[in-house]
Amino acid sequence: MFPIHKNIIAGTVGLLIALSTGSVLASKDRFVVDLVNEPSSLDPHVQWNPDSYAVYRNVFDNLITRNNKGEIVPQIATSWKQVSDSVVEFQIRTDVLFHDGQKLTAEDVAYSVRRITDPKFGSPQLGQFDKITKAEVTTGNTVRLTTNGAYPALLAQLVKLSIVPKAVVEAVGKDAFNLKPIGSGPYMFQTWQRGVQVTLVRNEKYWGTKGPFPTAVFRAVPDAATRVANLQAGASDLAVTLNSDLVAPLKNAPKAKVLAEPTERVAYVRLNTTKPPFDNEKIRQAVALAIDKAALVDGILGGFDKPVGQMLTKAHAGWTPDLPAIPFDLKKAQALVKEAGPAAKLEIEMATSPVFDQRIVQAIQQMLVDAGLNVKINMSDMASYLKRAQGGPEVVPALSFGRWSCACLDADGVLFPLLHKGSPWSAYRNPKADVQLEAARQTLDSKKRIDAYRSVNQMVNQDVPLVPLYQSAAIYGAARGLDWQPTPDESLFLNRMTYKD
């Protein structure tokens, strides 16, 4: 029912747009972003999800950041130096003021690291930073971070570490800070109308590139068709999380346009290699051969996404540039299934959740049935899906569809959790792969890391614990006058936008 509903809307939207006349344009004194939900929190050390990120990353500066090309560049840190395998020293800017007028110091940076890594604080983001064992100010504006052994993904993780003012946080406490956050970023928090919108105003004293809009409003608009309608009516300037069907009418819209960028999210099918029938390598290989990735991308996803032959994308550190992809070969898949005999006739459960695109899941089911397998879809809500997905080999469904994002653009955040036996996600047991994953995690030598991940990627293609499908695109709708480059990490920095009528 759902895809049909979308198609009807898309078609009708197109028809009505053709008839549409002009209406009031939103003023660019006030830039309106339609998110899916309101932020869960504005304290950058508490909740993390795309809707929260979009807002609070404009309020706070991070230690380091990524430019539009994806390179890690200075922000609050001007430079950094690897003192030893497990120690990095950062030089901190001295010209940064928090929104309350107080100076940002090295102590604020060290405090921010200590706060988010304190287990008692209970940050859901702890898993991204818990390799950091110590954060201290050595001299005036130098901060020294010590990690538990060499940690190659440290910088990639620190891109997400926002700097909070120690004095304010300690004075007002966790709850009050979440309601009225004070950062040093290009926008200042103004109001939070719960369930409706968060309003930010430009920080006129910002040390870096100032924001182009005096006011920015982030609204919660859960229905994607409504986000599109808002753009068409000129009631918003940017809408996130759209799909190819929904943006089709925007391509010819008078006021709006489509922006898309491949992200670091990779869609995959995961096989539980410890349970029948997928304890049989031949049947696993049949799955990999039977899925026509190009058909999924072009036929269903509108061509915005990109088929991939590995779980990593070009944007990830550790990507294998020359990995041969498994081709689509239905005949060979059918032959392998036949060869496997009665084992291949077992009913295979394919787990999925409504947050994923069910058109894709159904298409994959059909492709596997064509290969001769007996696949049934089992849909459960995201909380139940995740509980099973992270339950270890005994509980992990035979087949599951998912999309992976570590929000770190590093191979370690993708391959280690999905494959290493120590991770709750893994339903794969291969000591050779574990050795490579551990080695890559413990060296700062990028050549060695690339080699280790190449061998892991080869094992994945040979052994098929996973079938990487496609690199998801982030699809946005934007006002015609907006000039903005979306990035693979789906950041939404207002001060990287420009606008002309």
Binding site: L16, R194, V221, D223
Partner: protein, 291 residues
């Protein structure tokens, strides 16, 4: 009821998995579960929950990190506005339509009207809602497409939601009036030469009001309980939306708070309906038993 909600939620999932990043280790997950108190035995969690309720503490949202009472208090005014708007549309259209359908039930106009009522009730709101937006906001530009603000923001969601209950009101009103039309007092009034208008206002309205009030009480609780789809389509920040989001993210305390509040509202509305009966029909007050 609240006990059922408590256990069903906890047996079907755990918010921790939705909160942590995908790279989290088992230790990270366990640590967070401990901080949130979700690693305690269910029985202990239940007792502490009852203890909280007894002291009027609805607990805290694990996703939004604010007290549940704050979330409900911030959403309730929007829910009330939308319910009032929808009820105005539903009664304002439904009752007159029901009267027309009853009094002129043989005419072609009544048949057409019945068709329209049928269509209004059959249209799914996710569709009628987006159609209203496309027509009045995108094409004509008369109304804001979504979100809250002034009175004009309330119009489309109220209509989309009210059209559904409108049909119910029309049907009940029609039945109630038809029922009364066959009674002796109506025939006597007609015999005395009372015209239809006078008949309606003086004689029929009060007698036919009882079933309509009953339905209104039920409809209001339905409207308050959450017009999830209308709220989602129009980005209207009511309780329905927050409830569904909280169920999906297993934000236990928020769901429990909303359910508890819903139970109280339903009881209060039923009580109010009972009191209204006696205001409309004095016989109910006198002997305590209707008719």
């Amino acid at each position: 009821m609240i006990t059922l909600i408590f256990f069903v939620q906890r047996l079907t999932g755990d918010p921790t998995f939705l909160l942590v990043p995908e790279t989290a280790t088992q230790a990270d997950i366990d640590a967070l579960r401990n901080t949130l108190g979700l690693d305690r035995p269910l029985f202990v969690q239940y007792l502490s929950f009852l203890q909280q309720i007894a002291s009027f503490d609805l607990g805290r949202s694990v996703v939004q990190n604010v007290p549940v009472s704050t979330i409900i208090a911030s959403r309730l005014p929007y829910t009330l506005q939308l319910a009032a708007g929808a009820l105005t549309v539903a009664c304002g259209l439904g009752i007159p339509v029901g009267i027309v359908l009853a009094l002129y039930r043989q005419s072609a106009a009544a048949r057409m009207l019945a068709g329209l009522v049928f269509a209004a009730q059959s249209m799914p709101t996710f569709w009628s809602g987006i159609m209203l937006i496309m027509l009045f906001a995108v094409t004509l530009g008369w109304l804001p497409p979504s979100s809250v603000g002034g009175f004009e923001n309330l119009i489309m969601p109220s209509v989309a939601l009210g059209l559904l209950s409108m049909a119910t009101f029309a049907r009940i009103t029609r039945t109630a009036i038809l029922d009364e039309l066959t009674r002796d007092y109506v025939r006597s009034a007609r015999a005395r030469g009372a015209r239809t208008g006078r008949l309606l206002v003086r004689h029929l309205a009060r007698n036919a009001a009882i079933p309509v009030i009953t339905v209104a009480a039920i409809e209001i609780s339905n409207l308050l309980a959450g017009a999830v789809i209308v709220e989602t389509v129009f980005a209207w920040p009511g309780l329905g939306q927050v409830t569904v989001q909280s169920i999906l993210s297993r934000d236990f305390m928020v769901v429990q708070g909303v359910v508890l509040m819903g139970a109280f509202v339903t009881i209060a509305l039923n009580l109010l309906a009972d009191i209204l009966y006696s205001a409309v029909d004095p016989r109910i007050r006198l002997d305590g038993v209707r008719r």
